[in-house]
């Protein structure tokens, strides 16, 4: 029996188009096919259409904190996938909200997207037991 080769998919949800573009380019470099969304309805639609292994979600989409329930829904739909949230500051409330929504990691919004993606790929690989697959296709 042979494994079905399928490109890994990532979801990036952020209100800032420039950030979306940066994350998409970085994830493409790690052989992810990325779906981007700037708002909650588009993100929810994407969740119904694809199997995502990784999500990067801004804590603030239309209004402050509305990224959290989206992250919670993502975790419920894809419990084995890696979900991270970009927050204004890693304070106690944000950490607590992350835990209670099943988020694996939070990143402060002033972190460079390169660092965020690199840490996410390493952490996702650790959590699934698979090595990071930068520049390597699924076999």
């Amino acid at each position: 029996m042979s494994a079905v080769a399928r490109q890994r998919m990532a979801l990036v949800v952020h209100p800032d188009l420039t950030m979306l573009s940066k994350y998409q380019a970085l994830l493409a470099g790690a052989q992810f096919s990325t779906v981007v969304a700037r708002d909650m309805p588009t993100a929810l639609l994407a969740i119904t259409q694809h199997y995502f292994e990784v999500a990067i979600i801004s804590a603030q989409l239309g209004e402050s904190g509305d990224g959290w329930p989206l992250a919670g829904v993502f975790h419920l739909v894809f419990p084995k996938s890696f979900v991270s949230v970009i927050v204004p500051g890693a304070d106690l409330l944000n950490l607590q909200t992350a835990i209670n929504n099943g988020v694996q990691e939070i990143f402060e919004e002033d972190r460079a997207p390169e660092t965020v993606v690199s840490e996410i790929l390493a952490a996702a690989a650790r959590s699934t037991g698979a090595p990071p697959r930068n520049r390597s296709r699924l076999q």
């Binding site: 106690l92 835990i99 209670n100």
Partner: protein
């Protein structure tokens, strides 16, 4: 008849243990309690299997509940891990996130929130049937 979900509740405050036992037993859970991290570690390593572990953070010393959470996270099957503390900090919440605990609450506890979260987590793991209290 389905088995009752089993919970281990760990806190060095007798009143908290008493209240949580009372409230959660009423909801149909089978409760074991421990009043220290050491006692809880003995229980989980002594072939007791729990569906969920609810623990305080500060007992024998500050944030020792994270040691219990870390030990519980290595069990197979992994129980649901819920932490509650009156001394929440960025450091202990960051530690809890790193261990991937399932729920983190600050004291004074909102018992309805705690019960809802516990029920939701157990249902999502398939340890209780949907709709059952």
């Amino acid at each position: 008849m389905p088995q009752k979900p089993t919970l281990l509740i760990v806190d060095d405050e007798t009143n908290v243990l008493f209240t949580l036992r009372l409230v959660l037993e009423e909801d149909g859970y089978e409760i074991t309690t421990a009043s220290s991290c050491a006692e809880a570690l003995k229980l989980i390593h002594n072939s007791h299997r729990f569906d969920a572990i609810l623990t305080d953070l500060r007992m024998e010393h500050e944030d020792i509940g994270l040691e219990l959470a870390e030990a519980a996270a290595k069990l197979h099957p992994r129980p649901i891990i819920m932490i509650f503390t009156g001394y929440g900090s960025v450091e202990n919440a960051r530690g809890a996130l790193g261990i991937q605990v399932d729920y983190f609450a600050l004291k004074p506890l909102d018992l309805d929130d705690l019960k809802n979260a516990l029920h939701r987590l157990l249902v999502s793991r398939g340890q209780i049937q949907r709709g059952r209290a």
